[in-house]
Symmetry: C2
Subunit: 199 residues, 2 copies
């Protein structure tokens, strides 16, 4: 983090930041990305547009950081000693309600992400790439432990498998993604594709 970022950060409290993110997510759910404006966020949160722009630079960054604030952290702290244990623990960080709320937000944003270059860029840098990097560390440990062969061709598709299951559950089965579903998918698809132990 550079000096400018630190200066920007220091202007509002973490409580106020959380309150702003909640308001942005409420607006997103109510009207969708295109209709969320900095004016609407300022009005809803009784803040000045100047503050919002100073703190977040623009709507895309504000929306993605609001989304990121909802995601459970802590993948970096998970280290159960097996790939299956790690993946189950990652899924277990969120309860089913939180998971479905996040899935609904992601669905609501899917079109906007593909229509708006700045949103797609922020989405990629602030959400997708850090997530891929975290999964990569988990899988690399499995390779280092000898659970997965380093030349297994499914290694580069770990994120596609997991995100794909999450993304297609509602479309295909008309059911929300749940921990039970994702856990079962990990055991049936992800671990066998990687040739990793199922226990």
């Amino acid at each position: 983090m550079n000096d400018i970022a630190v200066t920007r950060r220091s202007r509002i409290t973490p409580e106020r930041e959380a309150e702003l993110y909640r308001a942005v997510l409420d607006l997103l759910r109510e009207v969708g990305y295109d209709a969320v404006t900095m004016d609407a966020v300022a009005a809803r949160t009784r803040s000045s547009k100047a503050t919002l722009y100073r703190q977040w630079g623009g709507k895309a960054e504000l929306v993605v950081k609001a989304l990121r604030s909802q995601k459970p952290g802590g993948i970096a702290d998970i280290d159960t000693g097996s790939l299956r244990g790690d993946l189950h623990a990652i899924i277990g960080r969120e309860d089913d309600c939180a998971m479905e709320r996040n899935a609904a937000l992601m669905r609501a944003l899917a079109m906007a992400v593909h229509m708006n270059d700045d949103l797609r860029q922020a989405f990629k840098e602030l959400l997708v790439e850090p997530e891929i990097e975290e999964f990569r560390r988990v899988v690399q440990r499995a390779v280092d432990r000898g659970e997965v062969r380093p030349d297994n061709p499914a290694l580069e598709y770990t994120t596609h498998m997991l995100v794909g299951a999450f993304a297609t559950r509602t479309l295909i089965d008309d059911l929300p993604p749940t921990r039970a579903f994702l856990t079962s998918y990990i055991d049936a698809v992800v671990l066998p594709a990687l040739g990793a132990p199922l226990h």
Copy 2:
């Protein structure tokens, strides 16, 4: 097909039907699902709204049938003698340009599908379920040939794997889904998860 459907069908020629579908898809790309109206379709295609309603019942059915008209058919004709051959042949029906055009249309519709119950219903009945059924037949033949064990837990996730790869390619890699990518994904993920032969 019942008598009423036959009567409705007979009112326009296949050429005219194809022309109407192209106009609907153009409108979808230009303005998105919410802004496509039966008025706009009628104006663009110089047809009467009464004809459109008589033929398709409503916007959701018209849009989904327009999408369906773009999909390559012929899964039912594919029977290469192995699961790998069948899945590669299914991917090979479409060139990369057509695949990316379809992917872009699906992304543009993702939000609308989740916001509109009638569109989701039409999507499910006219596109998702027939596709799942076709995949099921292909995989069932592999089970019958002894390529896949009938109790393999990945069997119920075949569609999630394939559709998930298609849906996440752009989000995760910022690249369009291509035949080369999907073929590689089938060999790295789908066949190993199903325990099916890789040759």
